[in-house]
Amino acid sequence: MAILFQPVTLATGTPDRDGMLVYRDGNLFAVLSRLSDIHTDLEGHLFVEAVFGRVPKRLLHTFETLEQFEEWLIASD
């Protein structure tokens, strides 16, 4: 599985503007955001805004790091 991350800016209407497009084997698979300080304990974590296509049965919504998100994606395949 080839995973590619592409930084983007998200129009969430909140300070959660830093985002990432996630491509899996060349196809857009997910959109992630980096949580801002409005989320207190979760500040800095990654939030799965959207997932496309075949969604892993155990869908987690937040990850501490990009590496953890990638590990989960590979394990779910």
């Binding site: 909140t14 949580l35 409005i38 989320h39 939030f47 919504h61």
Partner: protein
Amino acid sequence: MAIDDNDALTKVVQKLDRLGYLEDSDRDAVRALPFEVKTAPKDHFLIREGDEATDCCVLLEGYACRTKTTSSGGRQIVSFHMSGDILDLQLLLLSRADHNIQAITDVTFASVPAADMRRIAQEYPRINEALWRDTMIDASVFREWVLNVGRRDSKARVAHMLCEFAARRVAAGLGSAERFELPMTQQQIADATGLTPVIVSRTLYELGQDGVILRDQNEVEITDWARFRDIADFDRTYLHSEG
């Protein structure tokens, strides 16, 4: 605050009085019901789906919720409950619980044998009508929740849930609609609105930015009720109550 036995059934009488037109003989029949006052800690399950229960619970203090879960563990809160609510009236006629009832704070409740509740419903038509009306209002609230989760956006969903909570607190005599302490966590709000806790957190932030609510920890102040109600698409008609 301790609840003595006298207070316990007074809450039931007050609830039924709000639901119908009781006469003194009806109130006396309710006060003569056998019951036991019990307490349970936050997060305790009062009833689990599939249980065969023989008692009805009337919530006297604290807050509870009804939940259902998917086979993979996804949880949906289908209603919140507060002081005076009869939590499982269905057990008068249906022998097995089809959902969970869980305390979201420490709770005090009166446990009344379902057979005795059924008996006074049969013997006292005005009590029967009040209980029937309570069930109908429950059904109306469930219909509104289906609409809320199915067709409103995240901001309206959370705002609607807060509007309903505020309006029901007032109707139950628990205080002001403008300022209150939210007993539920962001996870529980998420489970009630079909959202994630992150989206709930973001939505509460947006409502604050809109200038319609102020939050301090769990304290919520609704600073512009008219605008908040508009954002929430909240029309209290479905609650079928004054307040």
